[in-house]
C-alpha cells in the first residue's frame, strides 16, 4: 500500500515537473473522451426530448386517410366513417376532417392580391378535433355544435396563421375565404404531430358544404385515439371497419412513429462523432507513447540513478505506467467534465432537457485509462530495460 502511494506520489511529481508536456499529454484523452461523452449525451438529450414529446402527445394517435388507390382525384371516406370507426373496441376518440381545395384565404379584402398566391389549407372539422389531437386553444373556442346547426360563418385559425395575419388573441376579426367573410372565433395552439395545422383554417362541415362544395360533404381523413399499445391492431381493424368494401382504400399512419424515426436517424450522426472521439483518443494514446518514449531517453540518467538506489526494473516500469495512468485519469476526468459542459450548452441552446446516461462518465474515464495504459506499456518496458551502468557512465 505504501509502495502504491509512493508510485502515485512520484508519478505526480514527475508530471508536475514538466507542466507543458503534461498538458499536451492530457489533451488527447481529454478531447477524445469529451467528444464521445458529448455526442452520446447530446443525441440522448435530443432523443429524450423527442421521447418526452411523444409521451406528451401520446403514442396512440392514428391518422386514417382515404387513399386514392382507385385513381380518384379526391378520395373520400364514407359519411358515417366516424360511427364506423367507433365500432372498433380499442378506439377511444375520433375526429373527422376534410381538406378543401383551392380556397384563397386573406385577412381582409384589400390584402387579397398579397395573399391569394399563398396556399393556406382550409379544413372542415368536427367539434372533437382538439380533444383527439390533445391540443388547446390559445384563445377563443373551437367550432361547436351550435356553429354546425346554425350554419354561422365561424372559423378557427392556427397560431402560425394568426401571427401571419396579425390577429391578436381575443380580438374580433374576420378573414375572407374565397372572398366570403368568416368570423375568427378561436386560435388553435400548434400541433406537434401535425405541423401543417399551424397555418390552417378550420370551419364547420355544414358551412363548408354551403360555401364551397357542390355535393354532400364527406370527410377524407380521421384522427383516432386508441387504447395505448394497440396502435397496430387498431390500424388494421380501422381499415376493415371504416371501408366495408376494400381495405386498400384507406391508409393508416401511427403519428408518433415519425418522431421515433427521427430519433433513430440521429444514431448515425452519433456513431460518426463517437468514431471521431475514438480516433482522437487513439491519436492521443500514440502521442502519449511517443512523448513518453522520448522522455525515457531524456530521463535515462534519472532511471539509472534510481536503479543504483535499489529500485527494481519492475518498479521503474510500473512508475512509468503510473505516470501514464495519472495522465489517463486526469485526462478522462477533464474529458468527462468538458463533455458534460458540451451537453449542457448544446441542450440549453436547443431547449432540450440535459440527459446523460450514468454509465457515460465511468466508461469515459475507464476508456482514457485503458488507452493510456496501452500507450505507457512500450515506454515503460524501454525504461525498465535500461542498464544502470550504461546510463550512468562512471568516471
Amino acid at each position: 500500500m505504501s509502495t502504491f502511494k509512493d508510485l502515485v506520489r512520484v508519478a505526480f511529481t514527475g508530471l508536475l515537473a514538466r507542466k507543458v508536456r503534461t498538458l499536451l499529454l492530457l489533451l488527447g484523452p481529454m478531447i477524445g473522451v469529451a467528444a464521445i461523452i458529448a455526442s452520446v449525451g447530446l443525441t440522448d438529450s435530443a432523443k429524450g426530448d423527442l421521447k418526452q414529446k411523444v409521451a406528451k402527445l401520446g403514442t396512440n394517435l392514428i391518422e386514417a386517410a382515404a387513399s386514392s388507390s382507385f385513381g380518384g382525384q379526391n378520395p373520400t371516406l364514407p359519411t358515417d366513417a366516424v360511427e364506423r370507426a367507433l365500432t372498433v373496441k380499442t378506439v377511444e376518440k375520433v375526429s373527422a376532417v376534410v381538406e378543401l381545395s383551392n380556397i384563397a384565404v386573406t385577412p381582409y379584402t384589400e390584402a387579397r392580391e398579397k395573399f391569394e398566391t399563398v396556399p393556406i389549407p382550409v379544413l372542415a372539422a368536427d367539434s372533437n378535433l382538439p380533444a383527439v389531437l390533445q391540443v388547446n386553444l390559445v384563445s377563443g373556442r373551437w367550432i361547436n355544435q351550435f356553429d354546425e346547426d346554425s350554419e354561422v360563418r365561424a372559423a378557427v385559425i392556427g397560431v402560425g396563421l394568426a401571427r401571419e395575419f396579425d390577429v391578436l388573441p381575443g380580438e374580433n376579426r374576420t378573414i375572407e375565404l374565397a372572398g366570403i367573410p368568416y368570423g375568427v372565433v378561436g386560435i388553435l395552439d400548434s400541433v406537434e404531430l401535425e405541423p401543417g395545422f399551424d397555418n390552417a383554417v378550420f370551419i364547420s362541415f355544414a358551412r363548408a358544404e354551403i360555401d364551397f362544395l357542390d355535393d354532400e360533404v364527406q370527410p377524407n381523413k380521421m384522427y383516432v385515439r386508441c387504447t395505448e399499445g394497440t396502435e397496430s391492431e387498431t390500424s388494421e381493424a380501422l381499415k376493415t371497419a371504416v371501408n366495408l368494401g376494400g381495405p386498400q382504400e384507406i391508409s393508416t399512419d401511427i403519428k408518433s412513429e415519425a418522431l421515433e424515426l427521427a430519433a433513430q436517424s440521429d444514431r448515425q450522426l452519433q456513431m460518426i462523432v463517437i468514431s471521431m472521439g475514438l480516433l482522437a483518443i487513439i491519436v492521443g494514446g500514440l502521442g502519449i507513447a511517443n512523448v513518453m518514449s522520448i522522455s525515457v531517453i531524456q530521463r535515462s540518467a534519472e532511471i539509472g540513478i534510481r536503479r543504483a538506489l535499489g529500485h527494481t526494473r519492475n518498479i521503474i516500469a510500473v512508475q512509468f505506467l503510473f505516470e501514464a495512468i495519472v495522465v489517463g485519469v486526469i485526462g478522462g476526468i477533464l474529458g468527462v467534465l468538458l463533455g458534460m459542459l458540451a451537453i449542457f450548452v448544446g441542450a440549453s441552446i436547443a431547449g432540450w432537457v440535459f440527459v446523460m446516461a450514468s454509465w457515460l462518465a465511468p466508461a469515459g474515464i475507464i476508456l482514457a485509462i485503458t488507452i493510456s495504459i496501452l500507450a505507457g506499456l512500450y515506454p515503460a518496458r524501454r525504461a525498465a530495460k535500461l542498464e544502470p551502468l550504461e546510463t550512468l557512465r562512471l568516471g
Binding site: 505504501s2 543504483a308 538506489l309 535499489g310 527494481t312 518498479i315 562512471l394 568516471g395
Partner: protein, 240 residues
Amino acid sequence: MNASTSADSSNLTILMELSHVSRVYGSGEAAVWALRDVSLVIRAGDFVSIVGPSGSGKSTMLGLLGCLDVPTEGTITVGDEEVTRLADAARTRVRGKSIGFVFQQFHLIPHLDAIGNVETALLYRSLKPAERRDRAMASLERVGLGRRADHRPVQLSGGEQQRVALARALVTEPKILLADEPTGALDTKNAANVMEILSGLRSSERAVVIVTHDLDIANSAVRKVSMLDGGIVSDEVLRS
C-alpha cells in the same frame, strides 16, 4: 606484489569479496578484458582508494563492487549473499540495502529539490512519508545542507550538489559506500570539503571505496589499491 597484503586486518567483518573475477566486454577478436582474474576483500572499517591509469579497469571494478554489473567469470559476495547467483531484482535489492553510490557527475534528479533527491533513495521501502522526510533531512544536515533542502540542483553549486549526492548515499545507512571520482568535477576547495565528509564517514561498520586520479586523495586513504591493465598490481595499507 600480492593482492592480499592487507591480511593483517582479517579480524574485521568481511563486507564484500571479489573472487577470481573477470569482466570481458564484447567477444571474439574485439573482446576487451576490462578486468582479468581479480580478487579483493573489503572489510568493515576499510577506507580504500583505487588508483591506476586511465582504462586500467577502476570503474569496471567499482561497477561490479556496486552490483551494477555482473562479472563474466568469478564470484562476488556481499555480506553472506553470493550476488553472482542472484537474479536482477534480488541483486537490485542487495544494492539498495547495502550499497551507497557517489558519482563524478553527481547524478541528481533535476526536477526534485535537495530533500526530494535524498528521499528518492528511501522510496518503496514501506516508510511513512514523515519518517522518510525526517531521515532525509537528518542526512542533509549531516553534510551541512539542512538549509538548502528545498533548493533544486540548478540552484546549488557543484560542491553542494555532490554533498546532496552524499546525503542521498548515506540516508540508507549503507555498509559500503562507493565513490567514482567524487571530486573529479570539483575545484580544490569543494573537493577538500567533500573529502572531509567522506573521511568523517569512516566507521568500524562501514567501508568506503574511492576511485581517484588525485594522488593526494589516494594517499590520504587507509588502504590503497593500484590497478594496471585490468589487474590489481598492489594493495597496501598506508596507515592503521
